[in-house]
Subunit: 123 residues, 3 copies
């Protein structure tokens, strides 16, 4: 059974301009481990934009309730195969309250656009 | 069990140009309540483009059968949380014939692009 | 139960430039029947771009394992209703190993962008 779905698209140049103007947003949106690749390099704006879209898509799949924190929805493991979500705190509580038992996530980007698509499932 | 899925993307400037040239299309595509926000303002071209994408995505999820009417697939409630679908007449009949018991819908737009993604589920 | 999901977006002008520079890519990516419409015309770059996105989305839904061949994931039947996937060889083996019993696919394009979205389901 599907609990909710979410899609989000992000225009990369616009996202990049925003985080250039307000670099503190990066720490507000992304945890320390999300900001680095598996090889330890800082993620590109494109990679961050796709991850931001994933967080928005998760919020939509849960009905965009109040009080969820960006750091409580982490996107991990993209470079080696499927990206997946690591939820904690406020986001995990919402997901549990709605009966979500598994999450599915896919990311894509090309040219100026990043997109994330999410399904929250209850088994 | 998933009966069908649909995705649709709409270039907002192109959609806006079309409804500007042929304003009668707005009434043909959208019901009176779809054309207004919850606050009673006329929806922007961006918001209508996302709703148009949703209607196309629903048609795709049902296999794009003949004879479905635009007004029989309404997108409601976007501003307060999850948007959802209100089906009637020709579209509801198709959905019932295919055993659809629930619909999931997510919308997004950024820059020039609107996207809708739909899952038709049978429980 | 959902085994995996995939989304892929393709900037059509970029894809078109690539296959113009390297026309051998067309045969490498697409089987003979995928290159033609039901009416026997060569597919446009837009139509091929959407199909390429579908193949990428299928690979993502399976976790992008090594060794899958492009020709083993064909997109057929788009013009008359729902497009669907015809899997064989390396891709079918992966899908079977992961327990996939049905596939859902939707394609869209507008302006410069093509998108494909896929769900792999186990019943």
């Amino acid at each position: 059974m599907i609990v909710g779905i979410g899609i989000d698209i992000v225009e990369i140049p616009r996202f990049e301009a925003t985080i250039s103007r307000q670099p503190a947003m990066i720490d507000r949106l992304f945890t320390a481990r999300e900001q680095l690749t598996d090889e330890g390099h800082r993620r590109t704006a494109t990679s961050l934009a796709a991850r931001f879209a994933a967080k928005e898509a998760v919020a939509k799949a849960l009905g965009a309730p109040q009080g969820m924190q960006w750091h409580h929805c982490e996107v991990v493991g993209e470079s080696s195969g499927r990206p997946h979500l690591y939820l904690s705190g406020t986001v995990q509580e919402q997901a549990a309250a709605q009966g979500v038992t598994s999450w599915h996530l896919s990311l894509s980007h090309d040219g100026d656009l990043a997109v994330a698509y999410v399904i929250a499932e209850a088994n």
